[in-house]
Amino acid sequence: MLRKWSNMKQLFKKILSKLKKRKRVSFTELFDHFQQLIKENNTSMEIISNIGEKLSGEYIFDKHFIDTQTNALFGSVYRMIYHLESMAPGKYTDLFYHYKKIRSEIEEELKGNIIIPKGKYVIPYSKIKDELEDAVGGKNTHLGVARNILSVNIPEGFAITTKGFSKIVKESKIGQSISHILSMWQQNKISSEDASKKIREIILAYKLPRDLCSEVINHINKIKRKTKGNDLFFAVRSSCIGEDSEHSFAGIYKSFLGVPAKEVLNRYKEVIISTYSERALEYRKNRDIMESEIAMAVGCQKMIRAQVSGVIYTLDPFNIQDDKIVIAATFGLGEELVGGSVEADRYYIARTPPHDIIGMDIVNKPYMKKFDFNTMSIIKGDVPEKKRDKPCLSLSQIRELVRIGIMLEKYFKHPQDIEFTYDEQDNLVLLQTRRLQIEKKRIQMKCDLSDLNSFKKLLAGQGEIVREGVAIGKVYKVTSSEDLDNVPEECILVTTSSSPMLAKVIKKVNGIITDIGSPIGHLATIAREFRVPMIINTKNATKILKNGQKITLNATDNVVYEGYIKELCYYEFAEEKFEEIKEYRLLKRIYKRISPLNLVDPTGDNFRIENCKTFHDIIRFIHEKAVQELIDQNYYTDPAVSNSSIKLKLNIPLDLKIIDTTRKTTDSSSELDIHHISSLPLKYFLNGVCSENVWSTDPIGVDFKSFMSSMNKTFAFEMADPRFVGQNLAVISNGYANISLRLGYHFTMIDTLACDNPHDNYIYFRFFGGVTEDTKRSRRAKLISNILIEQDFLTEIKGDLVVARLKGLPKEEILEKIYVLGILVGFTRQLDVKMVDEHQVTLYSKKFHEILLQQNLKQTQINL
């Protein structure tokens, strides 16, 4: 006990000496740094949203743009750290380290070196998305996207990245010999056959890098542990850069089936060797593909015990005009199905919803190919007699395949050539999806756009493009959350606002059109991730478009046509996809390192420097801490400055003090009138709080249990953090406000910016606590959360904590939302006491609506 106490004492001493050492910053200096910091904060966020906007596909940008924007961001974030460091010397120095780490990763990307998450050579499929294509090749990327974005089942496995290939073929001691052979061959001094043979010998004799081998073995072992002792075999497949996209390379590179775990590395080497097969060399030479462009990644997938396998062409390439999907399937493995050595059933399905089955061609299937796990080879087996003449796919399986086929085509913006299998448990497993090779001529025949003007334009040039692309479908209007539960597949969603609630149906819909919305809000981000064509701010789409109406959304040219114009879709197929352009992928990779926000909740355990993974995290962290530093400094450590805030004159008993960062000195003797507040957001908020019938003054009875609970709570709170006992406080500048309120033992924080550029604007709202016991407090939190969701906030709720965010709206709309928040804060102030049962949540939700209706928003605007 005694020892513990002396340890504690030492700890206190340590902390005290640290505090003493810290340089004291004068309040004026503090203010100055804070103002600069907010300025840099806005600049950084502007750059991030600027970059995000360029990912819509609507813009033409180049490498120069990427370079200048990232450099500007480096500077701005660095200066933010500097200003925070100046406000609280020595307290946040670690930020520099995390900043440097993220910055050097981005710089590597800019130099053209792809950063591979965790490790050097291997990425599991669970971590692969489209921006990693340069590291894992087309085939692996497509599978990763199908799994991680579209939730399609794929085999377990991993990719050995192009870094392995570069290490072996370019950087190792054999690299020079290989490039020498290649240059001899390019000068026609040796034949393709000789070149291929020589390279093969060199690679065969080469010992694979030790770290590559151990990474591969680690990942195999991970899969082994999951399979729990069952036989484990792999398919080892080539996944070359550019393979499956503009050039088909079909069958040029090697793939192996039924590879036992211990053979995977040898087969990997074989695939690498096949990069230089005679055929591959010739193929590339004939198509002017430079040898330096070639990089081979390899996919290792756990073998599936196939019951039924097949291929889907989402557009019949031989009869494009018929506009149908073809599925060919047979029992067992599908490996030789395309070659025609095994009989297969064929199913023809209409491409237009509801996807009627047009025809079936069921054949006699006496044999099937299967993998013999004993001899480790593919053998021909008999199909049981009674099954031979039966269709190998059920109707529900056909439906499932069509749904997945259309989904993949929609995402990759091109008809797909898909390989699938059904495993022993009848689960669908996607083995491969790639661009269907269609002769350009055939597509062009189908794309006569001269009739385009004969289609009626319902909307033209009215909106803002969030995500490019063409989509056809029936209009489905969403006005309530119930409508959202019944969204039909492949419709075009038409709504008043771009509410984050819509994100949950994104996979079902073909396109989105809204009356108003934010190009950088949550839904916009999700639409880009899922590549769903989307236009916002059309003003009146919900009025013009009718439920069930057939329309074509051309979100590339910002037009909505009446009727289905399939030619436009076909035209899109023929175009190069901007997502596949190198610079676009680079920008997307960089965006991933700057934009995602992991530090969402400042009260959460993970809100710490070491969890800053992106620049946005760092920016968010600094912003939060800067405001805290300002508040703490002002009230608890520096008595000299406690007078520099102003008290506000209000018609309700809200004791609110204001620190106006635009003023150098403040006259603390007088009270400030609401009309003289320089910050618009604070003005709107207070107008909301003070509006009629909102601030209930009824005395509220608290039962004994609640009272006791509040007693405990208050103590705990006060002990935990001195700020909670403190003042109601607002830190403001013209378009900015940070409002902290402690009303009836709950804590509300609003941080908001409302300026002329919608991209910079945001509202961050946080609420927790209360006087009553947990359930009642949670009910109030639920009520608040319901109201915020209806107001289009991205809302998270955990017990009695509600965190809500909104961004990218024009100033007027942000201010309107803040006004509503004012009403909400006033209205729910003491409500936890009244939340005796769940029914109260609905009841008070309704009451809130009534109050909102009563308050004429426009009236308030005039008052200001």
Partner: protein, 129 residues
């Protein structure tokens, strides 16, 4: 193809720009050729006059300003649209003095280049009448 089809030459040393502009303008019905080297572009222009030229300013070798000067000297009726990532008042001024019709700072929206091209097309057709 009828002979009234407007022809466009695009010159930008970053392939992403030409790659994206070409299909988007073709879809609008224009005849489009693209170049990433100014020397190839000027040689082609000597062979075949284009109605509209879209060019970047800063490039290796002959820069865009010199290229457009030569274009305007050879064929004054060709309308030139400048696209640049280094937009300054001076370069804009100089471009307009040389008879450039429009000046777009990169990055720009596809709709903006469509508008600029439509403006050029209208001017060309008006002059033909």
């Amino acid at each position: 193809m009828d002979n009234t089809q407007i022809s466009i030459l695009i010159l930008d040393d970053e392939p992403i720009v030409t790659k994206r502009l070409k299909p988007s303008l073709q879809k609008k019905g224009y005849l489009v050729e693209t170049f990433t080297k100014s020397i190839d572009a000027i040689n082609r222009f000597k062979e075949k006059p284009f109605d509209i030229v879209i060019t970047d300013l800063k490039m290796e070798g002959m820069d865009g300003m010199e290229f457009l000067t030569q274009v305007k000297e050879m064929r004054p009726e060709t309308e030139v649209i400048v696209i640049t990532g280094f937009a300054t008042m001076d370069t804009a001024k100089e471009s307009f003095q040389k008879g450039v019709l429009d000046f777009l700072a990169k990055p720009f929206k596809l709709s903006e280049i469509h508008e600029a091209v439509a403006k050029a097309e209208k001017k060309i057709l008006d002059q033909k009448e």
